[in-house]
Symmetry: C2
Subunit: 160 residues, 2 copies
DNA sequence: GATAAGTAGTTGAAGGTTCAACGTCTTGGC
DNA sequence: GCCAAGACGTTGAACCTTCAACTACTTATC
């Protein structure tokens, strides 16, 4: 970090620095590892999340925009991704009768099979890579901390 | 999440689920927000980290591979990124005399100016978006948790 | 000291993501 | 009803990342 003191910047002290660095490194590695673990099932994390969201939805279908929101994807990104997932046969699109601008993403039986076969391994991987490092108390306090953070971001989401 | 019980998958219980979801959502938003905050200085997070690492190195220069490791970038990605950063005038490359395969990434005065002007705002943004949500004790326990996670990933880094 | 194996770094192609612009439809105000 | 403003979703272009292949050099082994 360069030093400078135009308005006396308030650099991170060693404790803060360590917290921040360990967080940033571990969180990247975590995402990487989860993605790798999923690769065996030919799924990426975003694809998995889209399928997981659909699998929980009534009739396994959901409006594009809702899906984008849940999956933390921009509309555009979801749209591009859907083209690929549709080609893979996991989902299809269906016009929405009540709003003619809208579409439903609908999970196909093949998509269902894909997520059913990937889910146990993915959950296992979330445990192994994340939850297993946390005691019950850690889990509770992480939840508090990150909910607070999440709350703070509410309203300025950049994936619309 | 679909249900299935081939080998009785051990789904997440509500506490685990909440910890996991809040973590994954907040951590994505955090990265997004930090990137946005940096945008005003025409830097992305990876660029910032590369410059920050260089600015701390002796002579503000560093071997490409070391830089890649610190910045959590693959060699290839760093190489591509360097081309851009070089064009922007922040860094240049310099052959390594002792190992003729190797290169140094060297920070230019312009690069120094860029990071000096971005750093205070970035640090402020790390505080605002992350550290401010954490008490001293939270910081310490996060550090313990994520160091442990980081440790577990050691050796299977996919950015070589 | 020759050779095999490994390391440093780059490259191009394939694929993913973002951004701004667009067409289509809905909604609210008059 | 009409019109402006907004929401839904898609598109293409620009950009970024990954992956595998490659060159050039170094190291280890014999």
């Amino acid at each position: 970090m360069p030093e400078q003191n135009a308005t006396v910047p308030n650099w991170l002290n060693p404790v803060e620095m360590k917290a921040w660095r360990s967080y940033i490194i571990a969180s990247r590695r975590l995402l990487e590892a989860l993605d790798n673990d999923l690769e065996g099932h030919d799924l990426s994390m975003p694809d998995y999340e889209v399928l997981a969201a659909l699998s929980d939805a009534p009739d396994r279908k959901m409006r594009m925009s809702e899906l984008a929101e849940i999956g933390l994807l921009s509309r555009s990104r979801l749209s591009h991704r859907m083209k690929v997932m549709e080609k893979a046969g996991w989902v299809k699109r269906e016009a929405c009768p009540s709003d003619k601008r809208g579409y439903f993403a609908v999970m196909t039986p093949k998509g269902w099979k894909a997520i059913v076969s990937a889910a146990p391994a993915h959950v296992e991987s979330v445990r192994l890579r994340f939850l297993d490092h946390l005691s019950k108390e850690d889990q509770a306090s992480l939840f508090v901390i990150f909910s607070r953070m999440e709350e703070a971001f509410r309203g300025e989401s950049s994936c619309e």
